[in-house]
Point group: C2
């Protein structure tokens, strides 16, 4: 059924039907939350054996003491393999990659990068592919960094626009990227897009790509997306210092209690450490070693991620199946992604309906990520995009969530079409 | 023997004797390091049972997931008891209190404090009681914050000077304090000093005391020093937002892999969290819980610290006994502290001799903290103070260290007196 081809009367019939259904759902007093990309307890259970630290007696004794600011070699090696970089290009940090990103921007603001002028002393703009990760945008807003929206398509950010902007404006200092299983659209940047990012001319000499490789091993299928190696491509193009890459085990082991890293050129590593050595003596190397004992190597990490996938893939399927049942293709009011990995499904409803859907869901007891959240300043000019995070929710709650969500989409979109 | 009363001939005899001894020590090819306040392996062994995480099955499941930015209540309670504050006044962080201090200053520079002007937009000065902790001073120097030396005596910083400065200069924004078993002199601030810090008038409305309570439970005797509760005193004086207090378990459990905290007024907590929530989603709560399982409560922490003391007190005694044997009281060239707690012995040699002693020691294979390090910009205008960190070194190495150190002090000071 294509809603856009229905008469007002037909739409009114649908509206009335859905309104009755909606009132019924509201009356149930549900309380379900699919707002945040959090792993569920079953996923976290996978890593509980880590906490008994089997093999800890083999840990070099000096790991228990101060020192080794850039982390232990065992975890450097794991991240180097995971990200396709050299061990010397890795700094292993604390438990939060977001913290490393925030600190990296704060350092650039305060000190500049590799001798450049402090970003605090000049106007600074970031390119923000949209929809994107709300916490990236929140950091920029907090620091008063102006954000410029870059539309995303199935291959990544619109590179014509990116190239044109960075070539001509030296106040554009960076671009945010979640290049693999992008938050929230789930797409992986095409080889061509990655190559253009690596080779493009930038007017700002201290331009950086914030490459948040949050979902590097978070596949949901047997045919995972393959992301081109941007650091290799940058080096080849003579732009070896262009990328700050970030990753963590927050969604491999424990959320908020994983191990995070920065991977970047040796020049950048040196620059970062020259400031970081003032900030701390070392990160938690014992926790790094406990992670190493559990994670072992890439083969074992893939096995762990397979276990994760077995738990969360059915949740994605539940949602997508419910959308297909409720709407089918070519329905005229809603499109959704079916990602090969990551943590999100992105749903685009009829323009002008996203906030309304959110409000309706809220009143029926379903919490979604706020409409607009995946956009800088929380502003979705089309009022179109909803981000769905299915992983944390129990299977039964997810069924409830799909009922509420599909009902609210029909209700809001039918109303919109009636009033148009 | 009082060197200052000896004739040049007598001094020359001593010099010759010590020079022969020194040449002999150099010939041994020793390599000993007493530069940094690091716990030794035996101390770290005490906490190894922590790593098997006995009782982890009782951990609330949500601690494994994102959230709880200000830390878990179990560790808040422990720090609250340790520092004599309310649980609501505690933010539990990552593994490094230095990191929390650095970030607190960076926040003030970028954003100001509780609505005040960003410190970046104005000249900023810190008062620095000297000798003090080199890493505090390094942070200021890194940020370009001007440091003003405040002489320390047996009661703490010279409060006449502090009061006069802060009352009249609104660019003085803070004072660094290690109030208990101060690094490196080992003294604990007297009640009177703490009260004056709490009650003094400050011209800067956003003046803060950086109260680095690093050695709060680190007693070396049965009659530990007692530090007045500055946050209580500040509240009583209407200056409830004046103190940022820091502590960590780095020298209770594992160095660099402990748990750190900020304790401060509720207003400050709110202000800090409003920025911190952009920086990270949460710190490592699982590590916090593992600490809670091991530390349990203050009674148990005191027991752990008793074990630590049993290991390190003999090291302090070895050094102090060696000094007494080599010099005795009233020797005219060297004074040393005999602290009731903490990690350091501070040694004051004849003015103009500290660097020379350091250099001589270095050539004989003994690494000391660089002369000048306990002063802003590494400048000890009297070239007098040496900081000794006895804890990390093995007992046999410590005997070597005392031989080299006492010999080099005699050599340098005798030479100085001969040439005066």
């Amino acid at each position: 059924m294509n809603y856009s081809q229905l008469s007002k009367e037909e739409l009114q019939q649908i509206y009335d039907l859905q309104k009755a259904e909606y009132d019924n759902l509201v009356a149930q007093g549900y309380s379900v939350d699919i707002a945040r990309g959090k792993p569920c307890n079953e996923q976290l259970d996978i890593s509980m054996p880590m906490l008994t630290a089997e093999g800890i007696e083999n840990m070099p004794k000096n790991y228990r003491n101060y020192g080794m600011l850039d982390g232990i070699p065992e975890m450097k090696k794991i991240f180097a393999q995971m990200l396709g970089v050299d061990q010397t290009e890795v700094i292993v940090g604390g438990s939060s990659s977001l913290n490393l990103m925030y600190d990296t921007i704060q350092r650039a603001l305060q000190f500049g990068i590799m001798g450049s002028e402090p970003w605090n002393s000049q106007p600074v703009k970031f390119l923000c592919p949209v929809p994107g990760y709300d916490r990236h945008f929140a950091i920029c807003e907090h620091f008063g960094i102006e954000m410029i929206n870059i539309p995303m398509d199935g291959e990544g950010p619109n590179m014509d626009l990116v190239e044109q902007l960075v070539a001509n404006d030296d106040t554009i200092k960076a671009i945010w990227c979640v290049p693999k299983y992008s938050n929230p659209t789930g797409i992986t940047y095409s080889d061509k897009v990655v190559e253009r990012l690596a080779t493009m001319k930038t007017k700002a000499k201290d331009f950086r790509i914030f490459w948040d490789n949050a979902y590097v091993v978070h596949d949901l299928t047997d045919t995972p997306d393959v992301l081109a190696n941007i650091m290799e491509l940058c080096a080849k193009a003579g732009n070896q210092d262009r990328v700050y890459q970030f990753a963590s085990t927050s969604k491999v082991t424990l959320a908020g209690s994983g191990v995070a890293c920065i991977a970047t050129s040796k020049n950048n590593v040196k620059d970062i450490l020259s400031h970081m050595t003032m900030q701390t003596i070392s990160y938690n190397k014992v926790w790094q070693y406990i992670h190493y004992l559990f994670l072992k190597d890439m083969t074992n990490i893939k096995e762990i991620m397979k276990q994760q996938r077995d738990i969360i893939k059915p949740k994605f399927d539940t949602l997508i199946q419910a959308f297909e049942n409720a709407f089918g293709d070519d329905n005229g009011i809603v499109k959704w992604t079916n990602p090969n990995g990551g943590y999100f499904i992105s749903v685009d409803v009829l323009d002008g309906c996203a906030k309304k859907v959110c409000d309706l869901c809220k009143k029926a007891g379903l919490t979604l990520t706020a409409a607009g959240a995946p956009f800088p300043y929380g502003r979705d000019v089309n009022d179109r995009t909803l981000r769905i995070a299915p992983t944390f929710t129990s299977d039964s709650d997810l069924v409830v969530a799909t009922q509420i969500l599909t009902c609210c989409i029909k209700l809001a979109c039918a109303e919109k079409l009636i009033n148009d």
